[in-house]
Symmetry: C2
Subunit: 491 residues, 2 copies
Amino acid sequence: MTDADYDDLMPNAMKYHMSAEAFREHGYAMIDWIAKYMQAVETYPVMSSVKPGDVRANLPAQPPQHGEPFEQMLRDVDEIIMPGITHWQSPNFFGFFPANVSGPSILGDLLASGLGVQGMLWATSPACTELETHVLDWLVDMLDLPERFKSTTAGGGVIQDTASSSTLCALLAARERATSFDVNEHGADRKLIAYCSNQAHSSVEKAVKIAGLGRANLRLIEVDESFAMRPQALAEAIARDAAAGLTPCFVCATVGTTSSNGLDPVRAIGEVCKRNNIYLHVDAAMSGTAALCPEFRYIHDGLELADSYCFNPHKWMFTNFDCDCFYVADRAALIKTLSVQPEYLKNKASESGGGESGGVFDYRDWHIPLGRRFRALKLWFVIRHYGIEGLQSHIREHVKLSQEFASWVEADDRFELVVQPPLTLVCFRLSRGSDEMNQQLLDDLNRSGKLFLTHTKLDDKLTLRFSIGATYTERRHVEQAWALIQQTASA
Amino acid sequence: MTDADYDDLMPNAMKYHMSAEAFREHGYAMIDWIAKYMQAVETYPVMSSVKPGDVRANLPAQPPQHGEPFEQMLRDVDEIIMPGITHWQSPNFFGFFPANVSGPSILGDLLASGLGVQGMLWATSPACTELETHVLDWLVDMLDLPERFKSTTAGGGVIQDTASSSTLCALLAARERATSFDVNEHGADRKLIAYCSNQAHSSVEKAVKIAGLGRANLRLIEVDESFAMRPQALAEAIARDAAAGLTPCFVCATVGTTSSNGLDPVRAIGEVCKRNNIYLHVDAAMSGTAALCPEFRYIHDGLELADSYCFNPHKWMFTNFDCDCFYVADRAALIKTLSVQPEYLKNKASESGGGESGGVFDYRDWHIPLGRRFRALKLWFVIRHYGIEGLQSHIREHVKLSQEFASWVEADDRFELVVQPPLTLVCFRLSRGSDEMNQQLLDDLNRSGKLFLTHTKLDDKLTLRFSIGATYTERRHVEQAWALIQQTASA
């Protein structure tokens, strides 16, 4: 059929839809807009300087009664939205952790939008489930993760929205394992204890609240001078709780903490967990991607002792948010924790195996939401576009730049490196500066619009975080950033 | 800068990225692909007929070492992925509930991919937060929802991934309200009871498991002949539990159940909740969109008694998955339930008001995940493209077609209408047919590839569900479907 044929078929009521022809025209314009943005983004002030309410003040109070032309919407994007954007894709973005995107990922995601399939069950679009399982198995090989996380064993991987959700799902599976699924059935009774280092991500505390353990039952274990969990301290805390009649059930180890990229020793922690029959989840949200390169795989040493693991291609692997890869060694336990079986979702394919023994996977039972988008497409496109070689090349470049940046910090005696950066996060501060002076430096830098970085506290002192990993960050951006930091510190 | 200038700037390591020029070329190709898909989708067999493992069998066992050309990826989409797609966007898709998409939504989502901002905090891209708040306020007006759900009161709206997550967040807020935030702090102690009708969505049971209440503490309240919750039965169940020393804390009313589109009487249920000081959440995931039209707003009668509410533009409002709009009357309680405050996320804008009293909203405290995509763009594009008028027109058309379909069922004495459809879901079966015969009819229809519908059980009998709402469904598709159903029933 031609466009004209199709338009002929449209009765009046269909005329409000965007025709295929108009979609093509506006689609090209949107692609052009993004291509231009990719090229121009480094020239924008990185941090938005709007004040609270500024964006809303430019939006009409009432929604439109009648449809508006697409061109007007694009103009409003430029005039109203863009001033309120902090540019995560700027090569001068060194804040938080990256949320990098890439051409192939944007296009894979576009395809997912166009197909509009809902992958809650294998049967609701088999390719959506099978491509996801397949690509997550690929990643086990690409990162050299333990075989037990592959779908061909009792384990398997699934795409979650974020590491926060993975941590929650892991905690839920741990809670049920420790109580023989009694909490699922009858509710919690205040005896379950969870553990992470005092540097672990806030999502562990959030999960402990959500799952009904209560944050008084989360133990924050002390860390060593590299901000990594002390396994001995963990073992002691577990022993104390067990002696008090409590039930230790869950440990979250972090491979690359948010504050300082601290690397918890997974093997030693895993051995403590094994001895005490405690579920171990490993959160490598940012740093896991490093394992694409054999020289960085030491960060995962001992991972075969973990019950679950996650890392985020949406941080450092050029894959658009949201894309967190969550792996479990015992998928049946996860599915049992999260599964409910209403009549209206029953189907022959699901009943042939229940996801547990040779049948199909119904991914709705692997996470909190029921519905799900075809997110594997963008990940598949990224892996195929870059190849292992291309991904490795960029990861190595980011690590190299970070290490060089750290060496510049070390060579300037106005600054101190707070900790040796293992990968791409450099923590530093004015060596003789108060918290106020460091805050001032940070604010001045960010206000310049020429770069963006964020802070944390380490050893109770305000510390600047310089995190490399945006898609288009090159040597020149890091050099410019360092020059500006030196210059601003002088002033 | 021109593309060539930019390419000149790229050192070797950047060469693995897709250049802006290549992105433009492949982007156009992807837009063309989707435009063609929009036009051709009605000619495809709706339900995929692949067998488990078929898709994976066509994918290489090993990930590629070297990058591959984009053209090859698109070819593989056609040859490997497409046979495994069940076409949710086909105008002949009448299964489950729709997950409809539209041109403006796809392009708004594409823009979100291109910008790649992460909206966890107001400060991380003010426009991402403010546009979301603004558009959700618009929708309060568009659906004539209670003012207390507006951000200009003590309430406000947020985009969640799915209604499942909204139900969970509502339950968590209810749990904390009933225990003065004691579960958050110290953990649950098996006394909290939740209620929904025996027709409510499975996500309520899932939430009750996740939140640690235990499914033995979920009461499934009986329904009347229209499959709507009986408020009297709810009141009795609450009284029974309270008398037994348990703590009733949460009621989920459903406006448009998944099985049969049953409409729980929100006002009567709300009054029971008020009398007993119980949190009321209203789940209108599918049917809420009907309230765009004044004549259907009766479905929300009594909604001002609810503590929270959600509906899914990603079902029936032409907005790509994921987009569930979740509203609360008391945002401070939700934020307190879900908030954690690590140093590395602190910033001046957040501290000026904490989201609770005139300061900015940090949406990470309104849901489970920390990170978030700029989902408001697609919703904004949809509302502006269609205008209220265009949206109303399509909603009315879908309801009209459904009512006509129901009248055809009624007029054919081989079939019975199981319940009068209030909106767009028609439940019917062979009037003198066993469950096996109805299942056979369903299987034959779906195997034809000419349409897709699903089933449920009502009054313990297998029932076919005919759900209208795909973007491109027109009268002719409904007529063809009915002709095929009649013909298949004859055979």
